[in-house]
């Protein structure tokens, strides 16, 4: 077995020591710091991005809550305004209705009075007409001339009987 031949033991140990120590020192001083630098740089970048993302998220949440506050406030304002408008309209309507009622009552009473007046005047006219008609019919039928006072008397008695 060539492995147990001590002829090249020293040579192998020597070159192993040379190459392995070179490898160790080279990796330790050159290669590994480079890799760790890259990894750290990446980690830093990731951390930065994460923290900025977190910050942005917080800002977004703040903005969202602001918007929500504003919306609820606006809703409250609108509710109040609507209530106010409704109540003012109601009071307006009631006052207008009451004034209208009053006006109507005045008008009704006025027209009632007028109606009464015209009724009375009409009644008077009717009396006169009745007297005339009576005079004419009596004169046509009987040739008797009746004085107006007599006729009036008769009408009055008739009216008294009717009423």
């Amino acid at each position: 077995m060539p492995q147990l031949n001590p002829e090249f033991f020293v040579s192998q140990l020597f070159w192993l020591a040379v190459f392995f120590s070179f490898l160790l020192i080279f990796l330790w001083r050159v290669s590994l710091p480079r890799i760790s630098l890259v990894l750290e740089k990446r980690q830093r970048k990731i951390d930065e991005n994460l923290s900025s993302a977190k910050m942005l998220q917080e800002q977004a949440q703040e903005i969202e809550s602001n918007i929500n506050n504003k919306i609820s406030k606006a809703k409250q304002d609108a509710d109040e305004k609507i209530k106010k408008a409704i109540s003012s309209l109601q009071s307006d309507v009631s006052t207008k209705l009451s004034t209208l009622d009053e006006e109507l009552e005045i008008k009704i009473s006025n027209s009632e009075k007028e109606i009464l007046k015209s009724k009375e005047s009409q009644m008077k006219n009717i009396d006169n007409e009745i007297a005339n008609i009576t005079k004419i019919t009596v004169s046509k039928i009987t040739n008797l001339s009746i004085s107006e006072s007599e006729i009036e008397q008769a009408i009055k008695t008739r009216k008294g009987l009717l009423s």
């Binding site: 031949n5 090249f8 192998q12 140990l13 070159w15 490898l23 330790w28 890259v38």
Partner: protein, 244 residues
């Protein structure tokens, strides 16, 4: 089977350039060349892929980062915060063994991790380093590692020697595990390759298919053994910090 066709022929060391200093033979061999190749692959890959240092990694950069994170995670899981100091060492060890095994999977390429002297040297570095670390951290109390808490006192005479032996056998188990896996895998590949040549007609296709499957398995083992080597190193470092 003739000596030149032996499945163990692949483990023989050939001198590329003969160097002798004093009485020592420090020849640059095919084993040394495989180590050089391994170190070059690791350093060039890890340096060039991360050259752009881009935050959004390219595919190759991602591989480097994955390896980095893999070992960093492993060390963090087993040792914790204390382990950060040993990251370059564990990472180098893992990459050296992993790429050394992978380089060995290239046909005609030498596998230096199949030599017990190499794996033993690596394991010895780990063992000696961890022992020194334990004494630095705990002083003489480091010996209490051998005393298992919660055991009846009369069991200690039996258990303490067992613990000491298991501690001392750590470098052996660590090195032999890697060495034996590589030796067995490559020998098996060669044995079946011999079948492909020696079997008549088209029947050589069957061992060939087996070699293809075995190559996949060997690549898995190459990774697995590097991982085991690294995780055991991490566990030993952890023992040097937390006695029980």
């Amino acid at each position: 089977m003739a000596a030149k066709d032996s499945p163990l022929k692949q483990f023989e060391i050939d001198t590329i350039s003969n160097i002798e200093i004093g009485n020592y033979n420090l020849s640059f061999t095919n084993s040394s060349f495989a180590m050089l190749l391994t170190v070059l692959i690791i350093t060039l890959f890890l340096t060039l892929t991360v050259n752009t240092r881009s935050i959004i990694p390219t595919r190759m950069q991602l591989i480097s980062e994955l390896m980095y994170n893999f070992i960093a995670q492993l060390l963090n899981d087993t040792v914790g915060d204390n382990g950060k100091k040993y990251f370059p060492f564990v990472f180098s060890l893992f990459m050296f063994v992993l790429i050394g095994n992978m380089v060995g999977m290239i046909p005609y390429q030498f596998t230096f991790t199949s030599h017990i002297i190499v794996t033993f040297a690596l394991a010895a570095v780990v063992f000696i380093g961890v022992t020194i670390l334990g004494f630095i951290n705990h002083g003489i109390k480091f010996f209490s590692l051998f005393v298992i808490p919660g055991v009846p006192f009369y069991m200690h005479p039996l258990l303490i020697p067992i613990e000491v032996i298991s501690y001392l056998s750590r470098p052996i188990s660590l090195s032999v595990r890697l060495f034996a896996n590589m030796l067995a895998g490559h020998t098996l590949l060669k044995v079946f390759a011999g079948f492909v040549v020696s079997m008549p007609f088209f029947t050589g296709v069957f061992p060939l298919a087996f070699i293809v499957a075995l190559t996949g398995l060997e690549i898995l083992i190459a990774f697995l053994q590097a991982y085991v080597f690294a995780i055991l190193t991490c566990l030993y470092i952890n023992d040097a910090y937390h006695l029980h």
